[in-house]
């Protein structure tokens, strides 16, 4: 589309004359590839080192921040996955003795899930390795670059912020 007869060679950076729409698309594709690559690497390492899957690790990471536990819905919102999904992961983690369900006192619809002592120990070990891996994978980023990236990603640049609950939780949990 928009068949440009001839393209003037770009002087500095490539694609400087591209419409913003194409630029944003390019950014999204780059973002997606980057996070997929990192995710794949972390999944592989978790599997080899701890026989652990990424979804289960994510759930344990969420629970670790909340000794009192979280409800299924809180987990689902925080991890941005469907509620039915959480059920299955918790089932498997519970079968391994990593987490346990506890009925919610005030609301009989809800269930609290929390790490067992065994789960907490296991997570502590994995978290240490995980942080080191991330540090290694993102190793070539300098302090300034990291700060810039985080700041950019934090800009309210997304029309669709479907995780308002998330924001609340993060605000509450920030230490």
């Amino acid at each position: 589309m928009t068949a440009q007869p001839q393209r003037r060679p770009n002087l500095k950076l490539g694609a400087k004359t591209e419409p913003a729409s194409k630029q944003r698309l390019r950014l999204w594709l780059r973002l997606l590839r980057t996070s997929r690559a990192i995710e794949a690497e972390l999944r592989e390492r978790l599997r080899v080192a701890f026989d652990m899957t990424l979804p289960k690790f994510d759930v344990m990471a969420a629970l670790q921040r909340r000794p009192a536990g979280m409800t299924m819905t809180e987990l689902s919102r925080f991890l941005m996955v469907s509620n039915g999904n959480v059920t299955g992961i918790i089932d498997r983690l519970a079968a391994e003795g990593m987490v346990a369900r506890r009925p919610h006192e005030e609301d009989r619809r809800a269930t609290f899930v929390h790490l067992t002592p065994k789960g907490a120990r296991q997570f502590a070990t994995m978290a240490k390795a995980h942080e080191a891996w991330v540090n290694e994978i993102l190793g070539n980023f300098g302090d300034q670059e990291i700060r810039t990236m985080i700041a950019l990603l934090n800009t309210p640049g997304f029309k669709s912020n479907r995780s308002s609950a998330t924001t609340h939780q993060e605000a509450r949990d920030v230490r």
Copy 2:
């Protein structure tokens, strides 16, 4: 860990005194949340508007860039998913008449997959909407921010660049 007795209130940005390791972890989590949110939004819109899934859309997008087709392995590498995964998605797309398999002339182990005319038409429609959605979702990012982000994401900041094949292909396909 590193129990800091009391935290001096940060003057400018938060977490400025954090070790680089924690910073990188934070960046990764932010990156992951961002791309998950965008992915969820795009998935939902594709589903509602075109009854299309994201994985199938991704495959069609890859094939659209290569009229001559791609082998299963090329697809698998480009999309960063397992080879067995591609088989299933292609099976379903082929059943819908969106793509077709063609035997590789020189290598009887390989198979070429390409968009059918119907698939190409369908993808053209979806791609237009998809680009508009991305443009909308990333709408609050200005030109400069986008360029900065792309540049940062392009920095060879990742030790684990498992997709060397990808790089080749992208280099070849850049227009």
